[in-house]
Each structure stands twice: as structure tokens, then as C-alpha cells.
Amino acid sequence: MRIREFFLKPYSKLVWILLMMLAWELVAKFAPVSALAFPSLQQIFKALFDSIKNGELVYQMLFSLTLILEGLFIGVVLAFIMSFLSVVSKVFESFTDTCVSIFHPLPGIALLPLIILWIGTGTSAILFVIVHSVLWPMILNMNAGFKSIPDVYRKIGDNYEFSRFQSMIRIFIPAALTYLLAGLKISWARGWRAVISAEMIFGASGSIGGIGWYIFNRRVFMDTAGVYAGILVIIAVGILVEDFIFGKIEKNTIKKWGLS
């Protein structure tokens, strides 16, 4: 049973990561694989540190993160407006439902050829892909959250003579926060994937591209270790955002309020 307890600790992720790295290194060192396909950890970390040292990777990561923050913000605001209108009006709700069923299953990357024709290839095109991938899951979660609110809560709002907008802010959002955070988490993950895929297809727009461009560039210059370095950075950002940012927000809101 000692092993089981060991893996219940918060640092268990770290242990797994170390084990995977060990397995990786063993394969790279002893298995009959080409170093071009399976570079050793030493090569990967060297590529990673070189890119960080000359500033390239840091700028490109910031570039991608800025893009995704903009996209998330636009997406969440749009989702909020559409969900708010859906709560207020049944007619609008059916419109939102239709939009979600049309666009939610549609990958942004499939729209790329059209996006190039509509808005070109710059940052705005990548932003469009991010907003597309953020908006629909966010609306789905917001609507589900608002629908799950018991009728009594609504009536409390009526008793206080809140306006629609007031009851939205003071009752609906806090009550549906579990759903909103889940939506935000999904949207972030979708947006992060979208920005990297879009960058890998569009390449750099301007002097520096994002992290997807970094990987693409490493690939065409056949620097496999560099490709893995880029992927490591993406994983690191993913874990940081998930565990620290969302973890913190959840701890201070829904967990503290006993909602989850």
C-alpha cells in the first residue's frame, strides 16, 4: 500500500515525468533507432537551452501567449454576450443552439483555406482561428451552467428586484462558476492547440512567429532535437496554466465556496 500512498501525493506527476524521461533515454541510447528520429535528452535540452539563451524561443512563446490571451478574451466576451441573450430570449437561444451545432464540430484548421481568402494570412487570421475554437465550447458550458441554476435562485433575484443584468452578475455567474471555469479550461486548451496548428501552417506573420512557427522551422531545417524542444515548451506551458493558474482560481473560488 505504500506505493499507492506515494502516488497520491501532489508530486506524483513529477515522478511519472522522470520515469518517462528515463524510458526515453534508454530507448535513445540502446534501441536501434536513428538519432534523427529519437535524439537523446542531452541533445534536446541543449537545443532547448540554446534557443532560450538567444531569446528566440522566449519571444516566440510570448508571441503565442499574447495571441491566445487576445483570442480567449474576444471569445469569452462574445460567448458571454450570446449566452446572456440566450438567457433573456428564447428566440435567441434557438439561434445560438443552431450556431453551436453548426460550428462547434468544425475544426478551425479546416477553414484555413477560406480564412486566407477572407482575411489573409496575418495575425488576424490566427486570431480568427483561436476565437472560433474558443467561442463554441465556451457557449456550450455557459448555457449548461445557466440552465443548471435552480429556479429558487432566479426568484431570489426577483425578490431583490434585480435587473436582468444585475441578476446575471450577482446570481447567475457565481452560481454557474463551476461550468464557466470548466468551459474556460476547455477553451484554453482548444485555443492553445489552434494557435499552434495555425502557426505551423501560416508560418511567421511579421518578424517573429510563435511557438508553432518555431517547431515548423526546426522541422524544415531538420533539427529534430529542436522540434522536441518546442514540444517540451508547449507541454510546460500547458502544465503551468492547468496546475497553477486554473488550480489557483479554483482553490480561491469554487473550492472555497464548496461548489465542487
Binding site: 528515463l22 524510458a23 486566407i116 524544415v220
Partner: protein, 318 residues
């Protein structure tokens, strides 16, 4: 502790089985099939069955791969014996440890930088103009760098203006009239763009290079060349026959290709018989490419002489 060991073992098995599969041996040849006027001899070789004739009993597996990076990766994974590509991506692969050499030249086709009429020369590009080309390190990118080197003594002058787009996407972006104001492309996209009003060619590939060069060459892995010398010879001979067929019977070749490429026969005939389209096994310009790429830092060592990068049968010119 036993449980933990078991888990580790399973992870390791998972990793190792995923990476050690090798393709079936025997008399097969795996060739990357690509579309485009520059690859016409490959298509003719396939349609006319030249290789089957020269090496009876051979099983040819034609693999569909969309770009040079994918071909390179398939060759690393031992999924491919023969690939066709431009010289710069070949040199990048060699430098990074790919075990391969050039087996044959294939074609030289028109290539060039098309721009809107507002841009008359390389010096007219402003910071907000964007140039579409297939990818960094591609022959189009290196030709653009060569042109910039000649004009401004700065090969990276326009590197911050690049956008990576495939040929068809690049064409639609250019014609859509957004921020993409130029496109470094090749046959047949080059002719299609030039046929539209408002676009013209700023510089051709040959002007940028400063002479003739092979646009596409055929590359085989060391393993294929060393283990199947007879099959290798048959392959090279078949490419030659396909090239001869196109040069001697352009009309018939156009008819065959028209079906494969879904273009009209007349259109294809003009492309394959165009003055600056040339199908030949001679490898041209490899040392010039290598020296330029070393000088400008795209390569570290490059090649000392063309023989180091080509198999014994190859005739080269520089």
C-alpha cells in the same frame, strides 16, 4: 515495488515496439510520388511501367507525400527508398546526418517571384509586404536569398517578410489581394499568376541563381543503393527512359499526363515543351547551392565537391 517495476517495464516495451518496426524486405522499391510538371518523368515512368520492364518481378509501392520534410522523415523512418526534391532541402538533410545521395537529376522548370504591379523590384518591398513561399530552406527561399544577396549584399534582407504557404494557398492569397503582395512559385502556378492582370515577374529563378540549375533531383538512401545495386541501376535507367520519352514524344507524354494531372493536353504540352523547362539527368548547380548556403549560414559545412553528394553514375555540372 514489484508493481512499480512492472509499470516501468510496460512503458519501456510500449516505447520500444513503437520505434523498431521495419518495413518488409524483398524486392520492393518505395518511391515518393509527387504531382507537378517538375515531376513529370516520375509519372511517365509509373504510367509506362519502365521500371517493371527493366527489373521484372519488382514490386513498386508509390507513396503519397505532400512535401520535402515529410519525404525526409519517411526516409529516416525507413519507409521510403527514393524521393524527389530540390537541392537545398537535400543539402540540409545531408548536413544533419541523412544517409543518402543524389541518384539522378530530373528537371529544371520555370520558377520566379511574382508580385503585384505596385512592386517593380526587390527594393520596392516595404515592411508590410508579405512574400509567400513553400517553406524556409526550400529552393524558393534560397533563390530569394540569392537574389537579395546580389541586390543588397544581404541574403536575409526579406526573411522577415516571408509567409509559409503551399503553392495553391500562396496563389489564392496573392490573387485575393491582401497583405501577400508577392509569391515565389513555380510551374504551373507561375504561369497561372502571370496570366492574371496586375501581376508580373520581378525576378526569375535563373536570374536569381545566375545560371542553370536542377530544380528537382532524385535521391536514394545509402541502404537502398548498397543493398540492391541492380535494382538501383534499373531505377536510374528507367528515369532516363522516362526523360527520353518526354523529350522525344512530347505529344504522347502530354496525353498521358493530362489524365493524371487533370489538365488539358494543350496546356500540358506547352508546359513540358516550354523553352526554360528541361528534363535531364545531369545534376546542375549543386556546388553553387552548397557554397551559397554555407556562406550565408543556412549550412555549416556543406559539401566539398559534387561527388561527395552524388552516386557514381551521376553526371554533374556547375
Amino acid at each position: 515495488m514489484k508493481k512499480l517495476m512492472l509499470v516501468i517495464l510496460m512503458v519501456m516495451v510500449l516505447f520500444s515496439t513503437a520505434c523498431t518496426q521495419t518495413a518488409g524486405e524483398g524486392q520492393t522499391i518505395r518511391i515518393a510520388e509527387q504531382y507537378g510538371i517538375a515531376y513529370a518523368p516520375v509519372q511517365i515512368m509509373k504510367e509506362k511501367g519502365f521500371l517493371e520492364e527493366n527489373y521484372p518481378g519488382i514490386e513498386i509501392s508509390w507513396e503519397q507525400l505532400s512535401n520535402t520534410a515529410a519525404i525526409r522523415e519517411a526516409m529516416v523512418a525507413d519507409r521510403l527508398d527514393v524521393g524527389f526534391m530540390a537541392i537545398p532541402p537535400f543539402l540540409i538533410g545531408s548536413e544533419n546526418g541523412m544517409e543518402w545521395k543524389i541518384a539522378t537529376g530530373l528537371s529544371s522548370v520555370p520558377t520566379g517571384l511574382v508580385a503585384t504591379d505596385a512592386i517593380q523590384s526587390l527594393s520596392d518591398f516595404s515592411e508590410s509586404d508579405r512574400i509567400a513561399l513553400p517553406q524556409p530552406g526550400s529552393v524558393q527561399h534560397i533563390l530569394l536569398a540569392m537574389a537579395c544577396d546580389r541586390e543588397f549584399s544581404d541574403p536575409t534582407k526579406l526573411d522577415n517578410n516571408l509567409v509559409t504557404l503551399s503553392h495553391p494557398d500562396g496563389m489564392s492569397a496573392l490573387l485575393a489581394g491582401g497583405e501577400i503582395t508577392a509569391h515565389f512559385t513555380s510551374t504551373p502556378y507561375l504561369q497561372k499568376e502571370l496570366a492574371e492582370t496586375g501581376f508580373h515577374e520581378i525576378i526569375s529563378g535563373q536570374e536569381a541563381f545566375g545560371g542553370q540549375f536542377s530544380f528537382i533531383v532524385g535521391v536514394t538512401t545509402n541502404k537502398f543503393h548498397d543493398e540492391n545495386p541492380e535494382l538501383y541501376d534499373a531505377f536510374v535507367k528507367s528515369v532516363q527512359e522516362a526523360i527520353d520519352f518526354i523529350n522525344q514524344n512530347p505529344q504522347e507524354a502530354a496525353a498521358i499526363l493530362a489524365d493524371v494531372y487533370d489538365l488539358s493536353e494543350e496546356e500540358l504540352l506547352t508546359y513540358i515543351t516550354a523553352e526554360d523547362t528541361d528534363y535531364s539527368q545531369t545534376v546542375k548547380g549543386i556546388q553553387t547551392f552548397s557554397d551559397f548556403m554555407v556562406k550565408t549560414g543556412y549550412l555549416e559545412t556543406g559539401i566539398s565537391n559534387p561527388e561527395a553528394a552524388t552516386w557514381e553514375n551521376v553526371v554533374y555540372e556547375d
